[in-house]
Symmetry: C2
């Protein structure tokens, strides 16, 4: 027995979200329709507004509301430092640390020949052009430490080396607050080889 066609279709629309199954979709639907109609209205209009305005920044590729994003056009940020990330979400994560004051390039993917994602799809030519146009001091590769991430890092390194640009990558090691007992072997191995002398300020 279908109690309500429209509630059922709201439930299935919610199930496209990662991590939302039928039970959660039911709970969320009834919450939106029964307890928080105002919030539901806001949610629907924020989705519409964001969908209508969202685009990739022409320079760095981040998802945002502008043709050229707030970071690319911010003159107070040092464009001699370029951080390469896989996605908008990774850029947000780095921004939240307040650690980096340079600029970004968002690949919007990783090299993956099986899925047909090559250097053209990731706009690597554009990235290399950017590096010749700017006086780059350092490119920081901040990609995930997965197979695709490593392959993409290696490919970028090969190309940037030819241009005599200093290339660094994020340190790999024990996560902050992590318990050595629970850290996997590979991470521990890398934490050993990336160790640094205590008192080293560099």
């Amino acid at each position: 027995m279908k109690v309500s066609k429209n509630i059922e279709s709201l439930m299935s629309s919610l199930q496209i979200l990662p991590g939302v199954g039928p039970k959660t979709a039911k709970r969320l639907s009834l919450f939106l329709l029964g307890e928080n109609k105002e919030g539901a209205k806001n949610l629907s209009s924020s989705i519409d507004t964001a969908l209508n305005s969202i685009k990739h920044c022409k320079i760095c590729g981040v998802l945002n509301d502008l043709d050229e994003c707030a970071i690319c056009t911010d003159l107070s940020r040092d464009e001699k430092y370029l951080c390469i990330v896989e996605s908008t979400s990774d850029l947000f994560a780095i921004e939240e640390t307040n650690e980096f004051q340079g600029k970004y390039f968002v690949l919007n993917g990783l090299l993956s020949p099986i899925d047909g994602i090559g250097p053209d799809e990731l706009k690597i030519k554009k990235l290399l052009n950017l590096c010749t146009q700017r006086e780059i001091k350092e490119v920081i590769i901040a990609l995930n430490s997965t197979l695709e991430g490593e392959a993409t890092s290696y490919f970028l390194l090969e190309n940037l080396k030819e241009m005599n640009i200093k290339v660094t990558k994020l340190a790999e090691g024990v996560p902050a607050g992590g318990d050595l007992d629970y850290v996997d072997n590979n991470t521990l191995k890398r934490a050993f080889s990336w160790r640094r002398e205590l008192g080293d300020k560099s």
Copy 2:
């Protein structure tokens, strides 16, 4: 640094959902805007459609699209059996079992003097009128086994007893598939007192 005003406002709109914190909101927003724009469009329009059509059934109080819901107007269901539930969500849960072929009354809340919810807010007069109008054989109270649920059950029982109506309530005991070791004391106590003889078919 706000990277995008519209993504930020989508993130805060998503955080009204129960169980969605800032990290999940970020993940969901970027999923909707980057990977599943079609799904995002559907979600926003399903919310609008549901919000515009949703109302409480005039008879039983369930949230649905119609003035009188599909269950109340279904002549094949036995109106001599009336199941009282707290919310639309509980009604859905019972419907999914396919165990009950009677009708419902949805209280849309539980008695709670502290929050100012008395018999009038729960439309108990309407419920009692329904019981006099229909030839009720049995009222099944299917409320949560919480303090408010118990108080509401007791209040209903008192009122229905005067009308000489048989009142039952859902069995309390060990959950199906439950491990005795992990069942709390109160549940186990009740499971003992509600035990029945094996071979009992009633």
